[in-house]
């Protein structure tokens, strides 16, 4: 499997990372080298094997539906890039 330049740009768009044409070309070569490494997996027969996500046989714990967090928005927003009246400021989305 080898990535074309349009595919590199598509993936960059999905990942929300800006990439110039020059950068895309450099990255394309590097990604394709990494894909050669990953391709080694394809020759292995994994028919009937269950995917493994976690070493232990556990399930997601549930907790009581009860409010436990306190309002700390002043603290958390003290490090925000742009804040006003308790709201994070971002460029307008809806015209």
């Amino acid at each position: 499997m080898s990535l074309s330049l349009p595919e590199v740009k598509r993936v960059a768009l999905l990942a929300r990372i800006e990439i110039t044409d020059g950068e895309a070309e450099v990255v394309q070569g590097q990604l394709n080298d990494i894909f050669k490494l990953i391709e080694q997996m394809q020759s292995v027969d994994t028919e009937g094997i269950t995917p493994m996500a976690h070493a232990q046989d556990v399930v997601q714990r549930l907790r009581e539906d009860r409010v436990t967090e306190t309002d700390q928005h002043a603290l958390y927003q003290s490090i925000a890039p742009q804040v006003e009246n308790g709201l994070y400021l971002v460029p307008k989305v809806i015209e």
């Binding site: 990942a15 800006e18 990604l31 080694q40 997996m41 094997i49 925000a80």
Partner: protein
């Protein structure tokens, strides 16, 4: 080794202090031969002197550290000391610490003062340990050399033209250069063990789920584990006792009865006192001793295995047939999970925001392009691709199936042995810049370490000799699930019979 006995009776001179065990330091503090303030200041002075040439620390805050030290001294005076009370510990800059700049080695978080403490930080603080500073690391823990750090590369104290390994290279260098008596790091594909090996110290990755990941900036959630880095197995055990334990805020944290990881370190040997490890079966997988292993590393590891046999252990041949697939599977799973975890960095609520942008989408794209370094971007792109529509089955799901095969190999091997041993890294520390241009060559450094992360098994590295250029070699021990205490016991017995772990680099006196 003789000096360890005398050191517990007399106030410590600087050379003895920097090589004291955590237990010895704890005794010195309890006997009021030294205060935590003195001990902390002693290390802060060493950092001021040695760090400029090593770049192990990103942030030092003497006022904060000394305030904690004073609190620890009060506790010790009130007779409420615990094993780590008053001991300064260096924290990898991936652990959120309230009020401390926590950068994760990245421009993306270069301005992030954490508003909360990681669970591990809470535990160390509650135990009375002192935060000595935040250590440098590969950006977002993605690397095996500590060269991708936004704050510049970390240098190996054994040879400053070489890397200390990564991604916990700052923590490894801090301990190796005796700037800190102990440190904490994280291990996703070997990032505690490999820098421990390359820097001549000890490091341990616990069974997945034993140490809470809450507040530990996430790289790959099914692989990440925090763990201790120190000068001996005994020190690691004391650190792990404080770090381990259930935390409801980490959904993958395991509820298990509390364990004293130091409980069998000095377990009396049954029978022959000269063979304290009689009954221990050590598996040396043939796949870890084949092509790609440096002959210098191989020789030191073989000598270590012979030493374990002298201590009574029995070496058995085992095989991990799918070992070669570890690296490919890891480089699908880790980037995939990273692409998800790093999607939170968008310049909106914290961290880096690009100075100029046109609209919201542009703000995201530019903040991430400017905030992340090249390796992080590469891994996010790989991860995004393998999770995208049409490719998920062929890559991510396939890798998860191979992951199960790899885990099953270990289950089979542990029917024939108690511990698996081999080299931690195929080579000793390499020169700065030597592997920076070829990502895949860098990835192959992880060849012996990633399997333990994929399988969720505990593993550690201890020094076992020297190789090319006089650089340290690490021996990796890997145990079955939840066998950290036994693994530490074997390492401790080895360290009572050898002194590789007591060697220190020149120039750090």
């Amino acid at each position: 080794m003789r000096s360890r006995f005398f050191a517990s009776l007399l106030p410590l001179s600087p050379p003895a202090m920097i090589n004291a065990s955590l237990k010895q330091l704890s005794t010195q503090l309890a006997q009021k031969k030294i205060s935590s303030v003195e001990l902390t200041q002693f290390h802060l002075d060493r950092i001021a002197r040695l760090n400029p040439g090593l770049n192990a620390f990103v942030t030092v805050d003497a006022a904060r550290s000394l305030a904690q030290a004073r609190a620890a001294d009060a506790r010790i005076a009130a007779g409420k000391a615990q094993p780590l009370s008053g001991i300064p510990v260096a924290h990898k800059d991936i652990f959120c610490a309230k009020g401390w700049l926590t950068t994760c080695g990245s421009k993306m978080l270069a301005n992030f003062v954490s508003p909360y403490d990681a669970h591990v930080v809470e535990r160390l603080n509650a135990a009375g340990a002192v935060i000595l500073g935040k250590t440098n690391m590969d950006e977002f823990a993605m690397g095996s050399s500590s060269e991708t750090c936004f704050w510049g590369p970390v240098r190996n104290p054994w040879d400053r033209t070489r890397v200390p390994g990564g991604s916990s290279g700052g923590s490894a260098t801090a301990v190796a250069a005796r700037m800190a008596p102990a440190a904490i790091g994280t291990d996703t594909g070997g990032s505690i063990r490999q820098p421990a090996a390359l820097s001549g110290i000890c490091g341990l990755k616990p069974t997945y789920g034993v140490v809470s990941r809450y507040g530990m900036i996430a790289f790959a959630s099914s692989l990440d584990q925090g763990g201790p880095m120190a000068k001996s197995a005994e020190d690691l055990a004391l650190m792990l006792n404080v770090m381990a334990g259930f935390d409801a805020r980490d959904s993958t944290s395991l509820e298990r009865p509390a364990e004293d990881y130091a409980r069998v370190l000095e377990a009396p040997p049954t029978g022959d006192r000269a063979k304290p490890l009689r009954g221990l079966r050590i598996g040396a997988p043939k796949e870890y001793f084949g092509a790609g292993l440096g002959s210098d590393v191989g020789a030191a590891v073989e000598a270590a295995l012979a030493q374990f046999e002298k201590l009574g252990a029995q070496r058995v041949a085992v095989s991990l047939p799918n070992a070669a697939l570890s690296v490919p599977a890891y480089y699908v799973i880790a980037p995939a999970e990273a692409s998800s975890n790093l999607s939170r960095f968008d310049g909106v609520r914290y961290g880096y925001r690009a100075p100029d942008y046109t609209d919201l989408a542009d703000m995201y794209r530019k903040s991430r392009a400017q905030g992340f370094g090249a390796e992080v971007k590469r891994r996010i792109l790989i991860g995004t691709y393998v999770l995208s529509h049409g490719y998920y089955d062929a890559y991510y799901l396939k890798a998860q199936k191979i992951r199960r095969l790899i885990a099953q190999d270990f289950v089979q091997a542990y029917k024939q042995c108690d511990l698996i041993m081999g080299p931690t890294s195929p080579n000793v520390a390499f020169a700065l810049g030597a592997k920076a241009s070829d990502p895949v060559e860098m990835y192959l450094n992880d060849i012996y370490t990633v399997a333990a992360n994929l399988a969720g098994l505990p593993a550690m590295s201890i020094p076992c000799g020297f190789g090319e250029g006089g650089m340290p070699v690490g021996l990796q021990l890997a145990g079955n699930y939840f066998t950290e205490a036994r693994m530490l016991q074997a390492a401790h017995r080895y360290q009572l019979a050898t002194d590789w772990h007591l060697r220190q680099p020149a120039g750090v006196e």
